[in-house]
Structures are given as C-alpha cells and as structure tokens.
Amino acid sequence: MVKVIVLLGVIFSTVLGAEEVDSVYERNCIPCHRYAPASLEKLFMVYLKTYSGELTLKGALKAFLKNPTEEDSLMNDTFIENFSVKDKTTLTDKELDEAIDTYWELYDVRKKLK
C-alpha cells in the first residue's frame, strides 16, 4: 500500500514538473496570441521590418511590453480600435528577456534563408 502511494506521488510530481518545464514564452505569449488576429510569426516580420537588428528589435520589444502605448504599437489602427493596446507585462526583466530571446530564436530569418 505504502509503495503504491509513493509511486503515485512520484508520477504526480513528475507531471507537475513537466508543466514547469514550459518556457516563459510558451506560458505567457502563446496563450493570448493563439487567438489574436495577428500571429506571433507575422508580428515578428513586422518588428523585423521596423527594427532590423537583433539587439535593436529586442530592446524595442522589451520597452513596448513594459510600457505599451498606442504610439509605440506596430499594429494598425483598426486592430487597436477593436482590441486596444495590450496591458503592461507582469513579468520580471529576467523573464521578459528569456521570452524575447526564445521568440527571436524561433523566428530568426538567418536560420531559414537558403
């Protein structure tokens, strides 16, 4: 009986641990953008076209997420009228950097061009 309880405990904790393995990006970015009209992929291309370099893009994105304004938003007016500007992020700087790095790595065009 005791062995069964221990085994169940191990399985339960493993499942919970697996949830924690999800990255900050997956937990905080994907859930909302999954339903938004602008996909993360399209948004990346808009950011890339506007800011060009890795450091410049990451810096601009971080600044916007920490303090989103209509002026700084790259979305069109119709989108903002319908959905307004997003709320300020609740993530720490470290978490924000991690999420943005993951985002860059995922859609970096250098790795995809051939």
Binding site: K49, Y51, S52, G53, L57, K112
Partner: protein
C-alpha cells in the same frame, strides 16, 4: 702592356662630383615623387570615372534586388529561397552590421562607401528604408573586366617615363649651367699655374747648377750650412716646378713606357731627398728587393718624388721613413702627424693639403693618383693620427709576371 691613357684632366674634384651626384639623385627622387603623385591622381580620376559609369547599372540591380527582398519578406516563411541573379551577386546586412545572408565572392565589405573596387569585383551599397528581412544594407557585387585599369596603368607608365626622361634632360642642362662658374674658376687657376711655371724654370736651374758647382771644401762650416739651406730650398722649389710642369705640360706628352728597375730608382730618389730629410733629421730605412715594372720613367719618378717628399714634409723631427719594395708592391711609411680617417679619401684631390701649416699647392698626390689610375695600379692609404701614414702601391699590372 696596355695602358689606358687617361689624359683628359677632370675639372671636377671628387667632392664636387659627389655634390653633383647628390643633387641629381635628389632631383631624380623629387621628380619621381611628383610624377608618382600625378600618376596616383590620374588613376583615382579614372577610377571615379569608371565608378560613375557603373553606378547607374548597379543601382538598377540594387532596386531589382530590393523589390525581390520585399516580396520574399511578405511570403516568408512559406518561401525562404534568397533571390538570385546571374548578372550580379548580393548580400544583406542588418542595422547592426551583422550578416543576414550573402552570396558575395568578397565578404570584406565597406559600410561607409557607396561604390568601391575589391579585387576584380565592384561592390555597390544601397541602404534600405524598409528593413525587409531585417535588411538595412544591401550589397551588389559584379565582376569587372579591368580594361580601364590596364589602360590607365599603361598610360601612366608611358607618359610618366616620357616626362621623367624630359625632366632628367632638363636637370642635366641646368646642372651644366650651374657648374660653368665652378669650371671657369678651376680653369683660371690651372692657367695661372701654367703661366707661373714658365717663369720658374730659368732661375731655379741657375740656382741649382751654381750650388752644385761651388767648391765647399774651401768654405767655412757656417757657409757650408748656408749653402746646404740654399740647396734644400732650391730643390723644394725644383720639386714643385717639376710637379707643375708635369701637371700642365707633360700631361699631354706621349708616354714612353720601359722596364724600370724600381730598386735603383728608389735609391736614386732617396739620395736626392737626403739633404731635405737631413734638415729635419729624418732617416730612411730601406728594405728593397728586386722589382721592375713597365712604366714611363718620368711618371714613376713623379710618383716616388711626391710620396717621399710628403713623407718628409709631414714627418716629425728625428722621424723615420720606411720604404719597402717587393716584387709586387711598394710601401712608404712615415712617423708623421697622420691624417684624419675622414679626410683620407680626399687627399688625392687637387688643391687639397694634409695640413695648412705646410707649404705647397696640394697637387702632388693628385698627380700620383692620376698616374696610378692611368697604369691601373692600386694605391691604398692607412693613417693613424700622431703615429704616421703608410701609402702602398700594388703593381697589379706591368710587373715581369703581370
């Protein structure tokens, strides 16, 4: 024996020749530098002309590539193949100067120049306003046939060489104009010596002949000394007269080369100079072996007389003169004041004297050098200040073996 008859008297001293050569070298360097600079300017102007001819075509390629990048950006990531052309190669860089993608042959690109040449290729840079695929800098590369380069270089070499030759001719012309006053002054001095020489002959011959004829046995010791002084003074002037005569007159006479017994000649000349040496209590130490050379007797006598005369003139009182004769060389060493090592090279120049306190025109060693050069012998000088001077003549030609 073949002898180069170097009769033409060079009017320029070697120091003047050196100055002349230095001037010509400096002139040549300056002219070459100016021509090189002009060549560089011409090359740059031709390169700019080529750039302006190519700019329109390259700008057209760049616009075409920018449009293709825009299309790819909009289709991304469904289409990921970078746009290529068979007319040019291209590369894209982001705002931070990091490479996004490149097809260039030469990847060492420049962000601060719109158009430039690298190897056999031309690079054209276009800066984009919209950063499609993150592109801020778009580079277009085309191969170049280098025809303009070959033409420009051949133009520079042809015109440069022609101009250099013309300028060198001008330089030589100017130098000859600048040298004319110097030549005139030397010729004037030579003419003066020539004229003076004629006037010396009769009185010196009279003095020497009368001194020889005088019966010294009936003279008092005091008068004998006085006569000896007159003899020394007359011989000194006679020696100078012979040098001047050789320099101005004998130079143009035909050489009469014959086998000269050097041992006998040296002994004769030492005897001739004995009274002169005795006045300074200088003694000769002779170490003579048999030697004969095929040479003009008057000329080799002038060589010996001048070397012995200098060894006496610049020796100290109670000094010594060592004369060594071997089959292939003769050396005359004195125990005199010596010559500064820096001045050793100049001693053979005409009108140069070891020491201004001694008399003379400074023509003796110039005569020696002229004869040595004429018979292709070798002369070397070793000197130590306050210890003495050794002059050695090597009989490289004209000996019984030579």
């Amino acid at each position: 024996m073949l002898v180069s008859k170097n009769k033409g008297t060079s009017l320029l001293r070697s120091s003047e020749k050196r100055s002349l050569l230095r001037f010509l070298a400096l002139y040549f360097i300056l002219v070459t530098m100016i021509l090189s600079l002009l060549g560089v300017f011409y090359y740059q102007s031709q390169e700019k002309l080529m750039f302006s001819n190519q700019r329109t075509i390259l700008a057209e390629y760049a616009n075409k590539q920018a449009k293709a990048l825009k299309q790819l950006h909009n289709d991304f990531p469904h289409r990921t193949t970078y746009p290529r052309s068979n007319k040019y190669r291209s590369a894209i860089y982001d705002i931070e100067g990091h490479k996004i993608f490149s097809l260039l042959k030469h990847d060492d690109i420049k962000f601060d120049k719109e158009i430039y040449r690298i190897g056999n290729s031309l690079h054209f840079l276009k800066t984009l306003d919209d950063y499609y695929l993150g592109t801020k800098y778009l580079f277009i590369e085309v191969d170049e046939d280098m025809a303009w380069y070959k033409e420009t270089i051949s133009d520079i070499l042809a015109f440069g060489t022609l101009t250099l030759i013309v300028l060198i001719i001008f330089g030589l012309f100017f130098v000859s104009i600048f040298l004319r006053p110097m030549r005139n002054s030397i010729m004037l001095l030579d003419d003066f010596i020539k004229d003076t020489t004629h006037e010396l002959n009769t009185p010196i011959s009279a003095i020497l002949a009368n001194v020889e004829m005088m019966d010294t046995s009936i003279m008092s010791e005091k008068n004998q000394k006085r006569l000896s002084r007159i003899n020394i003074a007359a011989k000194t002037v006679s020696h100078l007269y012979q040098d001047l005569t050789y320099l101005t007159l004998s130079h143009n006479r035909e050489s009469k080369d014959e086998w000269i017994d050097m041992k006998q000649l040296i002994e004769d000349r030492v005897e001739y100079f004995a009274i002169l040496a005795g006045a300074k209590k200088i003694t000769f130490e002779l170490d003579l072996k048999e030697s004969a050379i095929f040479i003009d007797g008057v000329k080799i006598a002038r060589v010996l007389d001048n070397l012995i005369s200098n060894a006496i003139k610049y020796n100290k009182r109670n000094g010594k003169i060592f004369i060594t004769l071997r089959k292939n060389y003769l050396s005359i060493q004195d125990t005199g004041i010596g010559i500064n090592s820096k001045k050793v090279e100049e001693i053979f120049e005409r009108y140069t004297r070891f020491n201004s306190s001694e008399g003379g025109f400074g023509i003796g060693l110039n005569i020696v050098k002229g004869i040595i050069d004429e018979y292709e012998l070798e002369i070397s000088v070793k000197s130590v200040i306050d210890e003495g001077t050794t002059i050695r003549i090597d009989f490289t030609k004209g000996t019984l073996d030579g």
